[in-house]
């Protein structure tokens, strides 16, 4: 995975041939597993990876029409798409997902930890069961998916990329987001340890922290207005970009982090929030 002859640095192409030029094939031949990729951010990451030449394993807890659309989109781009139904919070299902993915694709180069179902509960009403459920899925599930993927990557040799979707909730608190915020803050900390413990393997571990992202299911004629009026209107005055984020914004960052362009980015959490976190509380 780490490119570039003598230096081990990013590839320098001859003049006139841009890094992104000629169809942006940044992930040619790579094998990527994306959890929670039925739709939304995960679905868009699957599409963008396929556009860039990767074969993609699509995981989610149910195979519905949206999942079919994502699988079809990857195939239409001429890449192999495989379906891996699993609840990443359940260890047997998680391990089976990896076994199947490896059987289908032969190896794993990229893991994107994305599957999540946020439950918002006021602090005073938190139940132990909520805690166990959310921590078990979105923190423990991510950790052990990352561990399995990293172990496979080390065995294969040649490095790899592990990307986890964090959130602006890892940095600041919004009402009722206690467990979600703790989970996401834990992911930011997870990648620090992964970077250190996987030192010298060529594997990088990073997080993307999205802000408001419009991942609603929309019809084709509504699609041009994604992120625009009618989505999080109350928040737009707080976002310097003055729009809601698109799944594509996150997928672009995932592409950067999955590609050889980012081989020296490691243990980092990158905000993709249109500047939301830069600002203070509203006047």
């Amino acid at each position: 995975m780490v490119l570039g002859g003598k230096s081990g640095g990013a590839e320098i192409r001859p003049a006139g041939k841009g890094l992104f030029g000629g169809g942006m094939n940044l992930l040619t031949g790579k094998k990527a597993l994306v959890t929670g990729a039925r739709r939304g951010i995960g679905g868009e990451i699957a599409r963008v990876f396929a556009e860039n030449g990767a074969d993609v394993g699509v995981n989610d807890i149910e195979r519905d029409g949206e999942a079919e659309k994502t699988l079809a989109a990857v195939k239409k781009l001429g890449r192999k798409a495989t379906w891996h139904q699993a609840d990443i919070g359940a260890s047997a299902q998680r391990e089976r997902m990896f076994d199947e993915f490896l059987k289908e694709h032969g190896r794993i180069d990229i893991l994107v930890n994305n599957a999540v179902r946020a439950q918002m509960t006021p602090f005073s009403e938190l139940e132990e069961a909520d805690w166990d459920h959310q921590i078990g899925h979105a923190l423990k599930g991510y950790v052990f998916c990352a561990k399995r993927a990293a172990n496979e990557m080390v065995k294969q040799g040649g490095g790899g990329r592990i990307i986890s979707i964090s959130s602006v909730h890892s940095f600041r608190a919004w009402p009722k987001d206690t467990i979600y915020g703790i989970v996401k803050a834990g992911l930011n900390r997870l990648v620090l340890s992964m970077a250190v413990d996987l030192a010298g393997t060529g594997i990088t571990a990073n997080c993307i922290a999205p802000g408001y992202i419009d991942s609603r299911v929309l019809t084709a004629d509504q699609e041009p207005n994604r992120g625009g009026k009618g989505y999080a209107d109350h928040a737009i005055p707080l976002i310097p970009a003055r729009r809601g984020g698109l799944p594509r914004d996150i997928a672009n960052m995932a592409l950067f982090l999955a590609s050889d362009l980012s081989s020296y980015v490691n243990g980092e959490t990158i905000l993709v929030d249109g500047g939301l976190q830069a600002g203070g509380t509203p006047d």
């Binding site: 990013a10 320098i12 992104f20 970077a195 970009a241 672009n252 980015v265 490691n266 600002g279």
Partner: protein, 262 residues
């Protein structure tokens, strides 16, 4: 190509990271203004590397610690290129580290005037042009791992770099709704020496000569100008459109690591 037709001004582009950014931007379709304080064969070489990539490369000699020279530089750039889409604040002088008790007022002023005041006013002036032009823009400043942690004898540099992180946040908020994004890249140990003719990168640091890098950097190599230029390219393209007020570490995991352990 990611920066087709864009007009980018890179300060301190005589060698190293600045040169890497200038040349890789040109390879992605941008015309590039090469700034440095000295006009010598290396400064000219960066501009000719831009030309060799098929793009217009102009040289703008200016001391970017002085607002009057910043204004003159940007006037000259806009005159030659018609507009400015991207500003990269990268210029720095060589003696970036100085022991506390040898840090006099003159050194402090020199550091702050270049790395904080100069970067601020270059950003302000460029943003003014970008707002006037319409269509947004990109301003990226070079911060550093020194903005996150303290190493011995690097206090003024670290303060300036930490200031740039905060500057990106402030300018993102102040420029809300203009389509301009303001961010920083925070490099780790990057070999910033001269590269061979035609090449963007000098050789990476030899880890046997720099054993501390092997011990402290999880990626276990020194960084190269192209590592920084790649991240710049992402931020300055449409792909980075929703990244704003952010500082991205490109340090091979150096800051993730707490320190040696037996």
């Amino acid at each position: 190509m990611l920066l087709e037709g864009k007009k980018a001004l890179v300060t301190g582009a005589r060698k190293g990271i600045g040169r890497g950014i200038a040349v890789m931007f040109a390879r992605e379709g941008a015309d590039v203004g090469v700034n440095d304080i000295v006009d010598d064969a290396e400064t000219r070489r960066t501009a000719s590397m831009v030309g060799k990539a098929g793009r217009k490369g102009t040289v703008h000699v200016a001391d970017v610690s002085k607002v009057s020279e910043i204004d003159r530089m940007i006037d000259d750039f806009v005159k030659q290129h018609g507009r400015i889409d991207i500003l990269i604040n990268n210029a720095i002088f060589p003696d970036q580290s100085r022991p506390l008790f040898e840090t006099d007022e003159a050194y402090w002023d020199r550091m702050m005037n270049l790395s904080l005041k100069g970067y601020f006013f270059a950003a302000q002036r460029s943003a003014r042009e970008m707002v006037k032009q319409g269509g947004g823009g990109r301003i990226v400043s070079l911060a550093s791992v020194h903005a996150y942690r303290a190493w011995k004898d690097w206090t003024p540099y670290g303060i300036a770099k930490a200031g740039l992180k905060r500057m990106a946040m402030g300018l993102a908020v102040d420029l809300a709704g203009t389509g301009i994004t303001v961010n920083c890249i925070a490099p780790g140990a990057i070999n910033n020496q001269l590269s061979k003719a035609g090449e963007v990168d000098p050789p990476p640091y030899n880890l046997d000569e720099r054993p501390e890098l092997k011990a402290r950097v999880p990626s276990q190599r020194g960084g190269l100008p192209s590592d920084i230029a790649n991240a710049m390219l992402f931020l300055c393209s449409n792909m980075g459109d929703y990244v704003n007020g952010e500082t991205i570490l490109v340090d091979g995991g150096m800051i993730a690591f707490g320190g040696e352990m037996r």
